[in-house]
Amino acid sequence: MKKILLIGIFVLLVLSTSTVFSLELGRFDGVTLKACFIGGGDYEKIYEKFIPEFEKLTGAKVEIVYKGNGFDIDKKMKVDFAAGTVDYDVCWDHTSFFSQYIDFLEPLEGYFTEEELKDFSPKVIQYCQKNGHLLQIPRHADISSLHYRTDIFNDPEIKKAYQEKFGKELKVPETWDEFKDIALFLSKPPEIYGTQFAGKEEALSGRFWDVLMAHGGKIIDENFKPAFNGPEGIKAATMLRDLYQAGAMPPGMVNFLWDDVAGNWVNGTIAMYTEWYGWYSYFQNPESSKVAGKFDIARQPKGDAGIHSGWAGAHCFSVTKASKNKEAAVAFVKYITSYEPQLFEAQIGYIPVRNSVFEAIIKEAEQSTDPLAKKRFELMKLQINEDFTPPPIVAEWIPISNVLYPKLQAIMLGDISVEDGLNKAAQEVEAIMEEAGYYD
């Protein structure tokens, strides 16, 4: 058995290596590529390992002129593009941000063959395009799954009480209506809250988008008019308000960002919530987490439209129009998003966007002692291929989010009614879109 496994891994390695080296990158001796990349934590491991390899293969040099978190890079790139001071050939990009920079990015469809793109999740590639142009190539993605406490859901007393109250068995919610009922039922604050969401900035707008899309709603319609204040949006915002007002979510939630919600989860005060995959090792570490070994994951609930929530995003690479070495820059993007670097990042914990990498990582996970390892990757693959839905691909998404989230907070806090809050936000969004020239 061991022998077969070893042979399997060897074949896989040979295949993967051949995939990388079968790339026709070309030689770029004497060319120095400048790059503006996301930095910090595990993001940089891929640069450390694969940039020297690329330099060896092509003769080009890669110089990272700026590293920062996504929001800092966004700020820098916007200012650089506006001032015409772009001095980098390759840049970090993201499905939520790239539509802001489209005038300044090199369309890539002419550089990539269909064959080169077919391994990527078609859904992700779809959201890397705008106005018929492929403007970025995905590196890895992120999407959320429902995290729930198995010790609570399997507790006989809780199950019995639920059966008595609702006349049906307590199970993992498959719809947002069930989610709401179960969250309200499981809440015993301050010891345990039924659920939570990140409660501010794009994190809150995004979670609202999660529920809205499941009910069949949209942030903006095909005419770029705000559409989130329709019945689907009202239902989504009402759920947020009801859960908050009933104490089924922590009162401080409207000030929470990702690290706060993850902190509450490991502290054992939350029964279930939707969370990104990236925190998994933190959650399963008994030294940092009270819920290690006591939780499971599931696909996000469906809404009235029968759609599973799938607010997602993908980190990508783009080539700037200002680049004087576009061929070399494209070669770098091809190399860094190829099979081997993606497998390397998947092994660190990032969600790959190539189906061949999913196959490999699922095979690897079969040997893991972690009971959730295989399930996680299979669920990720399913979601990345079927549920992956970033927010609207318009440059105004962040400004829209900045209008929307304070109104959602006001709705949850009871400062304004659901209808008034959403209508007011819609008016402001319409003004943003009008000013941006969408209705000319």
């Binding site: 916007k78 506006a82 301050p190 009162p251 401080g252 000030n255 502290n267 907070q409 806090l413 941006a436």
Partner: protein, 309 residues
């Protein structure tokens, strides 16, 4: 010897004073050039930007729109909330820091041994980056695992979740506490420098006349360190008018814009919402308010000097 041989004629005086005036203007040209290039030109440029609809993502479509940005801001509820929050924040912080700073400086002034060590220790909060202080106080006031709620639980025995950072004005109070903790040492150091530089004679004379400690403080110390007080208050007011890091980390100006300040809103408008023209207009309103504040404080400073001397 006739007197007129010693003194220049009126015509000569006029000529030489004219010459001096030209020379003095000529001498300050380099300094003036630096001020014009580094301050006046950028100010005029950014003011001109505030009269446009400049969008960071579409710089090519920038158009002159007159004072429309200013008019929109004056009709914007969030702007006014941010404005009044900043005014309240500035007023409370400057005054509390002033009272605490003066009190601690007085205590330290009386210490005869180990003043150096105490001075260093008291400056410790100033050494932290505001971002770190923000995270620290955000954790203190966290409703679930925060120090403050846990302290209240230890004292009262009742577990109550008080969402400090959510409800107004509790969230403003929490931010204020962080700001006061971080910046009071600045006031202490300036006031201590003032106290050390005071002459001893007026105090000796007052003691001979039987003036109590309070009277000495009220009628000698306070007027004499007046200039130090005003300088410290001007610097702190300008600092507080630009409050950003602490607010950004602790509440982000929310929830629902409840703790919005001028600079968090300016950043939101100019950078995250890409409305650079509007953001610049808001900055100019802030600069105008700060100017008014500084002029008022300097007038008070001049008045206090007249009273002393």
């Amino acid at each position: 010897m006739a007197l007129d041989t010693h003194f220049k004629s009126r015509k000569d005086i006029k000529k030489s004073s004219k010459h001096d005036r030209y020379l003095s203007w000529f001498m300050i040209i380099p300094a003036l050039a630096v001020v014009v290039v580094l301050i006046v030109v950028p100010m005029i440029y950014s003011f001109s930007l505030s009269l446009t609809n400049m969008n960071l993502l579409k710089p090519a479509t920038t158009q002159y729109i007159g004072f429309r940005n200013y008019m929109r801001l004056f009709h914007d509820d969030i702007f006014w909330r941010a404005f009044w929050n900043t005014v309240i924040f500035m007023t409370v912080a400057v005054n509390v820091e002033f009272i605490l700073g003066l009190f601690i400086a007085q205590l330290m002034f009386k210490v005869t041994r180990g003043q150096g060590v105490i001075r260093t220790a008291i400056m410790a909060p100033m050494m932290f980056a505001p971002v770190l202080v923000g995270f620290q106080f955000k954790w203190f006031f966290n409703d679930q695992v925060g120090l403050v709620n846990n302290l209240l639980y230890s004292l009262t025995g009742q577990y109550q979740i008080i969402p400090w950072l959510i409800y107004y004005p509790m969230n403003l109070f929490a931010i204020l506490l962080g700001e006061i903790w971080m910046s009071t040492p600045f006031m202490v150091i300036v006031f201590l420098a003032g106290l050390v530089s005071l002459p001893t004679e007026p105090f000796e004379a007052a003691a001979v006349d039987g003036a109590s400690g309070w009277l000495q403080f009220r009628y000698i110390t306070l007027p004499l360190i007046g200039p130090f007080i005003y300088i410290a208050m001007v610097i702190r007011s300008l600092d507080l008018g630009r409050a950003y890091d602490l607010v950004r980390i602790m509440t982000g100006g929310g929830p629902a814009n409840r703790s919005e300040m001028i600079w968090t809103y300016t950043y939101r408008l100019a950078i995250t919402n890409n409305k650079f023209g509007m953001g610049t207009a808001m900055s100019f309103i802030t600069v105008a308010v700060s100017f008014a504040f500084v002029i008022y404080l300097f007038k008070q400073l001049a008045k206090s000097r007249q009273e002393v001397y």
